[in-house]
């Protein structure tokens, strides 16, 4: 084990995979000498050169479109889009090319690429640089969708994503980049896609959360424990494939479900989880399901407004209290 930040863990994952497999390469805007807008690619260009750590022009459609072409022809691109709010730009390349290629060609082609994207709010970056857009991609069959909540998972999931044969949307929460955690040093440390983790066991209520909300939920759980409410916190880690069994088992045990997400509520992945449980686990529920999400509004700039906008430990705890 080694103490690494979430950002460092991601870099290590890329470095290990690039050393292991010469067909893996990185591309994106300012990922080279600049080291990435959030510093995640760091010094990779010094280690692997400009051929394998490619700075692109400002050209998101070509970044993703070319990643698809590269992946179809034997390479393993790890592409970075600088902010999740920019994912509308290469949306067609993700939706119509990366995701559907395997199906449309009857399984002849496949697209082993990873699309890394910083997402989420909390740094005053306003409406176009703070979005959570993962729900769109869960609605696109053919993609896998990953979202680590801590440094160890970040490493293990990114390595699995790079080795995966299908296109993977890999979301990283900006606020987490500086979170430090114990990270296994083995270069075969993999966290499988599709396996959730119970981040805290509890018997009274199930909270499902990903990314930064896992921290918020754990913090809320500590507070609530003092009040005698025993919270179970589940981090699915990958939204697609989703470890629905783990969620169902937990809800069966606790009888209560709260989903915490920084997404705007309407059309969120929080809604998808709620729908799954309302369909397959309704009779486990003693209480209505609760979604603690951002309101249906763009992300505001002012720090005061942004704080009011975002779910946090306090808001999660309050919502839990209402269920008891």
């Amino acid at each position: 084990m080694k103490k690494l930040s979430y950002a460092e863990a991601l870099r290590v994952a890329m470095e290990e995979e690039m050393s292991r497999d010469s067909s893996v390469f990185v591309m994106g805007e300012d990922v080279g000498v600049f080291g990435g807008c959030f510093g995640v690619t760091g010094d990779l260009v010094e280690k692997f050169g400009e051929d394998r750590v490619r700075d692109t022009p400002i050209t998101e459609t070509a970044i993703i479109g070319s990643a698809v072409g590269a992946a179809m022809t034997g390479s393993r691109p790890v592409a970075e889009i600088m902010f999740a709010g920019f994912l509308g730009v290469p949306m067609d390349e993700i939706f119509n090319q990366a995701a559907k290629m395997c199906y449309m060609t009857g399984g002849q082609a496949h697209v082993p690429m990873v699309l890394r994207v910083p997402n989420g709010a909390g740094i005053g970056a306003a409406a176009q640089h703070s979005e959570r857009t993962e729900a769109w991609f869960t609605h696109i069959p053919g993609l896998k969708v990953v979202y680590p909540s801590n440094a160890a998972d970040a490493k293990g999931l990114l390595k699995s994503a790079i080795r995966d044969e299908d296109p993977v949307m890999f979301f990283e929460h900006k606020i987490l980049y500086n979170h430090v955690g114990d990270v296994p040093e083995e270069d075969d440390y993999l966290v499988p896609l599709g396996k959730g983790e119970i981040k805290r066991e509890g018997s009274d209520i199930t909270i499902v959360a990903t990314g930064i909300e896992v921290s918020h939920s754990l913090e809320a759980a500590e507070k609530l424990a003092e009040e005698g409410i025993d919270v179970e916190v589940i981090d699915p880690r990958t939204l697609v494939p989703l470890d629905i069994d783990m969620i169902m088992k937990s809800v069966e045990k606790t009888g209560k479900l709260l989903i915490a997400s920084e997404e705007v509520k309407r059309g969120s992945f929080a809604s998808e989880i709620a729908a799954e449980v309302a369909e397959e686990g309704l009779f486990y529920l003693e209480q209505p399901i609760k979604r603690v999400c951002a309101p249906d509004a763009p992300v505001p700039f002012s720090s005061v407004l942004e704080q009011a906008y975002l779910p946090d430990a306090e808001k999660i705890a309050d919502a839990v209290r209402e269920m008891f």
Partner: protein, 328 residues
């Protein structure tokens, strides 16, 4: 470059295969045997055949919604193609893709594509792979005049240029994108320049315009561009002026163009022209031509029969191939 007799007659044969294939598809689409949309390549055969003749086995192509001709020119299996267009289990894509999505990945055909302009960044990526994997492959990217107005054209060619990628961008300028003229002095137009190849300047690459109904002219320009790309000379843009004999898709009443215009272009039919060249050079006589055509027709008939006789896909196929590594 001096081509052998066989090579030249081979080009004609490929064009005839496309001509007969498309004519057959046209007929059976009209009879309701083929679902969805069909965009025929009739009249444009010289572009696909000339360009693909410049490629070797390790090379790649990306294609378009009007892709049958590219796949056939690259040597695609006629039976599997016909079966795919009929939506049968024996088709290239098991009936899941259809006319707009036929691919033969083993032949380096990275798929027809229903999204206009989508092939350009994919071709750039194929070029990146050549650099990453240290291969000498070149990728030919087909796209239309209409596609050259999409942002993907701009972004992909710019990327190819700054990274010196081994890609040849072949614009099939058939004068229209559906009902929109590529250029006209007055009125509606897709762009304000006569030659799409003028756009090469914007990327610092070379651009040429050739007669797209002259298979040898296309071949020559693409051979040149491929040679350059293979020698690490980077991408080029080759515009081929041509014309589609049919409507945009089958069923298009073509109100946006005149019968005279069509007639003018039919006089420049790429097959008739090339037959004449071969005959003038005494590489082919009437009898030889008839034999060739009969042979091709026989192949197409066989493919048609194969497609018609093939089974429908099993409904369990609806949810397979969503992921390559198997199910989620």
């Amino acid at each position: 470059m001096k081509e052998s007799n066989e090579e030249l007659v081979g080009l004609l044969e490929k064009m005839l295969v496309i001509r007969e294939f498309e004519t057959t598809v046209q007929k059976h689409f009209a009879e309701g045997e083929i679902p969805g949309f069909v965009h025929l390549y009739l009249g444009e055969e010289a572009v696909g055949v000339g360009a693909c003749s410049a490629l070797g086995e390790e090379d790649f192509i990306t294609s378009t919604h009007r892709g049958h001709g590219h796949l056939l020119a690259r040597g695609g299996d006629i039976k599997k193609m016909m079966a795919e267009i009929f939506g049968k289990a024996t088709g290239y894509n098991k009936g899941k893709g259809g006319s707009m999505h036929i691919a033969d990945v083993n032949l380096g055909i990275l798929g027809a594509n229903g999204i206009v302009g989508a092939g350009l960044p994919i071709a750039a990526g194929s070029g990146v792979s050549a650099q990453i994997l240290g291969k000498e492959s070149v990728t030919v990217c087909f796209f239309g005049d209409g596609a050259s107005n999409r942002g993907t054209f701009h972004e992909a060619i710019n990327m190819a240029s700054v990274w010196n990628l081994p890609v040849v961008f072949v614009c099939e300028n058939n004068m229209y994108g559906i009902s929109m003229p590529q250029y006209r002095a007055d009125g509606r137009k897709g762009q304000n320049i006569k030659d799409v190849s003028d756009r090469a300047v914007a990327y610092g690459i070379s651009g040429v315009t050739v007669d797209g109904n002259d298979v040898m002219a296309v071949r020559e320009a693409v051979v040149e561009a491929v040679k350059k790309a293979r020698a690490d000379g980077g991408p080029s843009l080759v515009e081929c002026k041509t014309y589609r004999h049919r409507g945009h898709f089958e069923g298009d009443p073509t109100v946006y163009r005149s019968d005279e215009e069509l007639e003018q272009w039919k006089k420049k039919d790429p097959i008739d022209r090339f037959v004449k060249v071969l005959k003038d050079q005494e590489m082919l006589d009437d009898e030889g031509y008839k034999e060739l055509r009969d042979k091709v027709r026989g192949q197409i008939d066989e493919a048609l029969q194969f497609a018609q006789d093939s089974p429908e896909p099993d409904v369990s196929e609806v949810t397979t191939d969503v992921y390559y590594g198997g199910a989620e």
